[in-house]
Assembly symmetry: C2
């Protein structure tokens, strides 16, 4: 593997796992730009740009639309810890691994967590969530939009309206879906939503866009405290329970991202550049065009896999277009296939978790990687690797089927 | 300021504030490298490289030496929240703004915080800390090594030995000092120490190296819980109180950075590249050579400022070599000077906080920026700007004095 002091020299890869995927070269270029001081007017201008750009990306008018400086789960925790005080009731409808993560984070906030579960590979009927909402009367419903662990996307519009009606806040983890399929914060009555750059936004992991509305703002401000040493004159702490994290305190992040520019952390300059460029690139293509590209790639990949004699996992009506679960055929060693794909072809496909471990591969078509070339190369390589494992697909049919499906759109 | 959709195009800056400063171009280049999958053997190899490189940078044999994916305060919070359970007693000797931050974070962990304070511009006599240690019997002493708010560096060796003797853990925030002056984790009996990339390590903010020893490991493992959905067979949660953060749970981060490679967050790939390159660049120069460069720049800058008729802030015996406080002369508008420095010369110098607000500028000579050219350009620009403010320094004497001091070393 070389020495720790060797020059950094990552080999070429086609990243078709469930994320992170390859960053758009324009995003990589943005990250190589010189740094600016924390309160340089050009940098604070870029912070304002990021707020404006992500309002458009997330289809929201929310003033509070900014970045949490960490990976996707950092923003999940920022939302939870800023909203939830000990004893607050949370309803988490779980349909995959990342639903369990929401429970886990909520429990660490000492919230009272109520869980309903759907079988992996399915989503919830809205009625079931609404019934649970009536039964448990939670302060917060926390829900994953697209769970890469199962490839499923949960429809949100009816749930959002029901949460509003029952006076529950709705948090949505849209890490896997923003940029790859429709995400409508305001139309769907989502109160707080977060995402990450490393999937359909074509950036690196490490910065997490978040947006929230006045309902969340009010709750957070009721818990606002500011650290000693930077207290503005006349500031009085709120009466609500102190938010248990400094780093993830949305009230302080609001002061940092607003005109107050009250010092909190030092904004991660290069990741801010990356986040800005991710949004610019996506909006230049157009949200609808990007979503259509993901749908087309998903159809082409699916057509190819079926032509190879493989079976697609999960409820087709709710499959995310940006990741596809493939049942590992009997007698085939899933990990050996993945290793060969990486070693011989430089193509990464994903393994899986929990009840699906060893049962499916997950093939991502996300963001910059989501294009015809990726689908075709992946199918040809997979066919070759499977042949060596004794699984004989009709030669060449997968790539031809995918090509045809691509054209038919 | 342009539109949100304009191309990213930061203007050239010489960043001589208290950090962030300019990144080494080799670090910027590393961040523009293509991404790798999260468990790609090349990427996990780079993670191992980072662990090895930072052991050398921090002069420690600690196995647990890795990155927290956030800015410097993220690692402070990771240390605090993973160690401190509610009611644990913490002693914080405060000699500047970042000492207050340690108190603030410890209080959010519901620790019982005891504070001793030193005047801004001075450090603690070790005896005073040791007496407080005897009096308060804390579980943890939390201390800033170099506080940029006052430019002071606290000597640590005697305090570390005393903490060991009194069975208290010692946490040190070395964000501002690593790479700019000697930091010896093992020799000084520091149990857990964290830093950031954006000061003397010549990188961007957004990744925070941390190191801790077996004493901390034992305490953290006694609180170890793992999230549902990725529980390994046979895992049993520890009996200690649950760590209140998922993102900052050092026990889970250990599993992610060890051979277990248990999935936690998705490592921030580009920031990992940056962190690796920061350490490589520093070690290629040599720690001693880098420290000497910072001392030389500090002496030259100080000689220049004094030749200009300005006064250096704080106890000279404990001033950090990488940042210099300068008293703002009577009748001079400090903010107007900083604005002119930035607008006319593209040079950033720092303002200050709390009791020093409006009283001093802070001029950084950190990392990549710490070089003869920076000191000379800054002095000439400052002389010019001050002249327009009515403060007449003897023309040209500052830059000549700095040049001479540089040569004399």
């Amino acid at each position: 593997m070389g020495k720790a002091t060797d020059e950094l020299n990552p080999p070429p890869r086609l990243l078709m796992g469930p994320g992170p995927v390859e960053a758009d070269p324009r995003v990589l270029r943005a990250m190589s730009m010189p740094l600016l001081g924390q309160f340089d007017p050009v940098l604070t201008g870029y912070m304002n740009d990021v707020m404006a750009l992500y309002r458009e990306v997330l289809r929201t008018g929310n003033r509070w639309t900014f970045l949490v400086d960490g990976t996707a789960r950092a923003a999940i925790e920022a939302a939870m810890v800023s909203i939830l005080a000990p004893g607050d009731r949370v309803l988490v409808p779980v349909f995959g691994r990342f639903g369990h993560l929401l429970c886990e984070i909520a429990r660490r906030c000492e919230a009272e967590v109520r869980v309903i579960e759907a079988e992996w590979g399915r989503v919830f009927e809205p009625e079931r969530v609404i019934a649970a909402l009536r039964e448990h009367r939670p302060a917060l419903v926390a829900l994953v939009h697209g769970d890469t662990s199962t490839t499923m996307a949960q429809p949100l519009a009816e749930i959002g309206a029901a949460c509003r009606e029952h006076d529950a806040l709705l948090y949505v983890d849209a890490t896997a879906t923003v940029g790859g399929m429709d995400v409508r914060v305001d139309d769907w009555c989502v109160d707080v939503l977060s995402t990450g750059l490393q999937k359909c936004l074509s950036g690196p992991p490490g910065s997490a866009p978040i947006t929230f509305n006045e309902r969340v703002e009010e709750r957070v401000l009721a818990r606002k405290h500011i650290e000693q040493g930077i207290l503005p004159d006349g500031f009085r702490a709120a009466q609500g329970p102190v938010i248990r994290s400094n780093y993830f305190d949305l009230a302080m992040l609001m002061d940092y991202w607003s005109e107050a520019r009250l010092n909190h952390h030092t904004e991660a300059t290069s990741m801010l550049y990356a986040a800005r460029e991710c949004a610019r690139v996506l909006l230049a293509e157009g949200l609808e065009a990007a979503h259509e590209r993901h749908r087309r790639a998903s159809r082409a990949l699916g057509a190819g896999l079926r032509a190879m004699g493989l079976e697609i996992f999960g409820d087709p009506a709710h499959k995310m277009p940006n990741v596809t679960g493939v049942l590992i055929p009997d007698g085939v060693n899933g990990d050996a296939v993945r290793a060969k794909m990486l070693d011989d072809f430089g193509i990464e496909i994903g393994t899986s978790f929990g009840p699906l471990a060893g049962r499916i591969w997950r093939i991502g078509t996300m963001g910059y990687v989501c294009r015809k070339r990726s689908v075709l190369l992946c199918l040809m390589a997979l066919e070759t690797v499977l042949r060596a494992q004794g699984f004989r697909a009709p030669p060449g049919e997968a790539v031809d089927a995918a090509l045809q499906a691509w054209v038919e759109g």
